[in-house]
């Protein structure tokens, strides 16, 4: 655990202890009961938030999962199962997982909003079945037995708070692993996330299954709180309200979940005291969520933003290259004479209907080299990168990575095989921190020294910085830092200098030229900035109308009249 993590964990625990003590020692048991309800609701909201606010999916059956957890607890209680409530609650949570997987598996392999529809269908069907079969022991008044230690309302409240805190801390730590970072990332861009070697269906499914587990836990805790259960606690309508509250409050953050839980429990209380009808609550939640969606933020996120603004000042971090650009002397890397082909493209052909985007393209990138791929707009450069990295549905021809055939492999498997790419437009999720992004990109947690050295070298801010705080140019640099952090066999950089100033692009050139020697990674670079190309590339290939029209040592090719002609009318090209 890093020191920052340790600090935030300790602060969370301290706040929870103080709050629990205040509530337990100053309020009557009625209010302790309400707060217990709020914490149990907050636990369920953590699960919804994981799916909805973090991974950006819609799940409308979380309370059905909670019902499964509650049912298991009630059943174990009736059967006088060994162990106590604590174990039963855990088993209840685990019992919900297979249901989550069974529902998520077919829905999440496809894109789009299938999950919303399938969970709606599940909740509607589950409602009816639960309503008729109800909970074990309900008709016979068999109360769910709490262990002696937690038999008082105050102790049970403390138990629920403890469960919430453990979950919140665990989720926070998990969000700093490659899997956890991928949830936030895939909400922003699925393609961008897959390019880091993440299997999108697996990542989504893990988020959904984990949320089912958390929902199951909350159901079990509710069973312990109320002692007796009714189906109405877990209907589709309740699931929808929880989704709506999550959307409004931002329950992927611990404070958002607590805030949402308080809303769910205390809103009815306030309405009752003001003698207002109870159904106003849902209308308020609906309006709040709609408004939150239109603003693109949640209460918890806004609160964090406000906090940051007040205490840290709002600053946009720009590129941090320190050396004087004029002094930088860039030379292309030294390549061994008999270097093997790290990437070998043979007869690559891509058709979109009747349009031929790439026509029988063949070339190789030798190990340890930086190869440039240039050509006018629409020549097929990005299509080539998409094809090689597995983002096209089909193509003809063969792609070999270090002698291994990649054809037919999905994008994330190619990434894992050692081929990484950047995008013309950056696809880094703004909700991540720089450190979490590196973890995601490298598919592992880098050592502190390692990541700090890499970030310093690429002119990026420190790992704690939020992506939303850094400027567009620096994000481009972070793109490059990310792909090389994975230390792949080869990186494909798609216009890495786009959006950078001349000075910055010279500084970037110096880094790119060093990538093979420093990281053992070969480079294929698509670029319009001819200065950059001239400085770093060992060889270049020129693509026009989907065909290679020239290739060879950089300067020679750039002087080729055919190349100059291809660039006429393309203002970015000839000027240099």
């Amino acid at each position: 655990m890093s020191s920052a993590n340790l600090k935030s964990t300790l602060v969370t625990i301290l706040i929870a202890c103080v709050a629990t003590a205040i509530i337990n020692f100053t309020l009557t048991s009625y209010w302790v009961f309400l707060f217990t309800g709020a914490v149990v609701a907050a636990i369920a909201l953590l699960g919804v938030g994981l799916v909805a606010s973090r991974a950006g999916m819609i799940s409308l059956c979380q309370m059905s999962f909670a019902a499964i957890g509650a049912w298991v607890v009630a059943w174990l209680n009736v059967k006088h199962a060994p162990g106590s409530l604590l174990l039963w609650v855990l088993l209840g949570g685990l019992a919900a997982v297979p249901f989550g997987i069974a529902i998520g598996l077919p829905a999440l392999r496809l894109r789009g909003i299938n999950l919303a529809i399938v969970t709606l269908g599940f909740a509607a069907a589950f409602d009816v079945i639960l309503l008729s079969y109800t909970f074990p022991g309900q008709t016979k008044f068999i109360f769910v037995k709490r262990p002696d230690l937690f038999s008082s309302d105050q102790a049970y409240f403390a138990l629920c708070v403890a469960v919430f805190v453990i979950l919140a801390i665990a989720l926070n730590l998990l969000s700093q692993t490659p899997l956890g970072a991928s949830w936030l990332a895939l909400r922003h861009s699925e393609r961008g996330t897959a390019a880091h070697g993440v299997s999108i269906p697996q990542s989504k499914l893990s988020a959904f299954a984990l949320s089912a587990f958390i929902a199951g836990l909350s159901g079990g805790l509710l069973a312990g709180q109320l002692g007796t259960l009714v189906a109405e606690s877990f209907t589709l309508m309740v699931s929808m309200v929880y989704f709506v509250v999550t959307t409004m409050a931002g329950a992927h953050l611990a404070e958002g979940a607590i805030f949402g839980g308080m809303l769910i429990i205390f809103f009815p209380e306030v309405l009752r005291r003001l003698n207002l009808p109870q159904d106003i609550g849902n209308v308020f939640f609906a309006l709040g969520a709609t408004q939150a969606l239109s603003m693109g933020g949640t209460m918890a996120e806004d609160l964090r933003g406000l906090f940051r603004k007040i205490f840290k000042g709002k600053e946009i971090v720009a590129s941090g290259f320190t050396e004087d650009a004029a002094l930088v002397a860039v030379v292309p890397p030294a390549v061994k004479a008999n270097a093997k082909a790290m990437l070998d493209i043979k007869n690559l052909t891509v058709r979109y209907g009747s349009v031929v985007a790439l026509n029988d393209v063949s070339f190789a990138v030798p190990e340890g080299s930086v190869v440039g791929l240039i050509g006018p707009n629409g020549a097929g450069k990005s299509t080539l990168i998409d094809g090689v990295t597995g983002f096209l549905a089909t193509y003809d021809g063969t792609v070999l990575l270090d002698g291994q055939k990649l054809d037919g492999l999905l994008a994330h498997l190619r990434a894992r095989a050692g081929i990484r790419r950047t995008w013309q437009q950056t696809r880094i999720a703004p909700q991540l921190s720089v450190g979490d992004y590196l973890t995601l990109a490298a598919s592992r947690r880098l050592k502190a020294e390692e990541s700090e050295e890499l970030l310093l070298w690429m002119g990026c801010p420190g790992p704690q910085t939020a992506i939303s705080q850094i400027d567009a140019g620096t994000r481009r640099l972070l793109d490059v830092a990310g792909v090389i952090a994975a230390r792949p066999k080869i990186v494909l950089l798609d216009e890495p200098a786009a959006g950078l100033s001349h000075q910055e692009s010279t500084q970037l050139a110096a880094r790119i030229a060093q990538i093979p020697a420093r990281f053992g990674t070969s480079v294929l670079m698509v670029e319009h900035d001819m200065d950059l190309v001239r400085m770093v590339c060992n060889t270049i290939f020129v693509l026009d109308f989907g065909k290679i029209i020239a290739s060879g040592p950089t300067q020679k090719v750039l002087d080729d009249p055919r190349v100059i002609k291809a660039y006429i009318g393309d203002p970015e090209g000839l000027a240099t």
Binding site: G112, M237, A393
Partner: protein
């Protein structure tokens, strides 16, 4: 068993019509609309409440249709004003939130437990099939579903406005740039789906437990139907909706399965998803 299967025909017609409306909205304004059935419920209850106030039936029907249309157009305007360029997930989430609010308000205004005297708009029976009286209402609902399917298909493929609308659902911003009146057209799409759903619910209301919540939840089987059509094909959606009704009817007739008949839409959704899985596909923008 055949008897109970045929008995599901009426329900199937309603599922089909609402499903086709959902596909219509999705294809033209790219919104997966969870409020689809609730819009119809609003218009239907407006009709019966006016009738209770002593207004004439034709007036009540027209006013009810107008109410459903206006509510749909209002929702459409909200979606256009604040969520025009939002991703599909966000738009769907908005409709879920709106559905929660609509149900709360709907139950408040209409009251839950007392039945309303829903007038039989299409009274009488058409013919008897396998011992089941097929009501005119069932026939009309199915015919409406067919008509709407044909109209929607033609509209999308044959008319200039249809082409414009398709362009706009793919690229709303660029469509606006080339002079397509995006807002007006989108709201029109919402209104059209609203009026069709309202009409369908008005016809089947007397033979359903007419409660605002249960009406709004008709969106579940309708989604199953739309999924069968892949949210693309109107004809497959139509067939899917009718098949779903028949399947539910059949399940009600089998003694071992009857208590699980409410799970039929869910099982259909699962089956369709399993079947339609192929390779992971990448969407264009993200």
């Amino acid at each position: 068993m055949f008897t109970s299967t045929v008995a599901g025909l009426a329900a199937g017609g309603a599922y089909a019509l609402i499903g086709v409306c959902l596909v219509f909205t999705y294809r033209l304004v790219s919104v997966v609309n969870f409020t689809g059935a609730a819009i119809g419920a609003t218009g239907t209850f407006a009709m019966v409440m006016l009738r209770e106030q002593g207004f004439s039936l034709p007036f009540s029907i027209l006013a009810g249709l107008a109410c459903g249309t206006v509510i749909a157009a209002l929702l459409g305007a909200v979606m256009m004003k604040w969520f025009a360029s939002a991703p599909a997930q966000t738009k769907a989430a908005v409709t879920v939130a709106l559905l929660v609010g609509m149900i709360a308000l709907g139950l408040r205004i209409t009251g839950g437990q007392h039945p309303r005297p829903f007038p039989d708009l299409v009274p009488g029976s058409a013919f008897t099939l396998a011992g089941v009286v097929i009501t005119r209402a069932a026939l009309v609902t199915i015919s409406l579903a067919f008509i709407f399917t044909i109209a929607a298909t033609r509209f999308l493929n044959r008319t200039r406005m249809g082409l414009q609308l398709r362009a706009l659902s793919e690229r709303p911003v660029s469509a606006e740039l080339i002079g397509i009146p995006v807002r007006k057209l989108s709201i029109g799409v919402w209104a059209t789906a609203g009026i069709a759903t309202t009409l369908a619910l008005m016809i089947i209301a007397p033979q359903r437990a007419p409660n605002f919540l249960t009406f709004s939840m008709l969106v579940v089987p309708a989604f199953a139907a739309a999924l069968i059509g892949g949210f693309r094909s109107f004809w497959l959606t139509l067939a899917g909706g009718i098949a779903l009704g028949l399947l539910e009817g059949m399940a009600a007739g089998l003694s071992g399965l009857a208590q699980f008949r409410s799970a039929v839409p869910f099982l259909i959704i699962l089956a369709v998803l399993l079947w339609s899985q192929r390779r992971a596909r990448w969407d264009e923008q993200r």
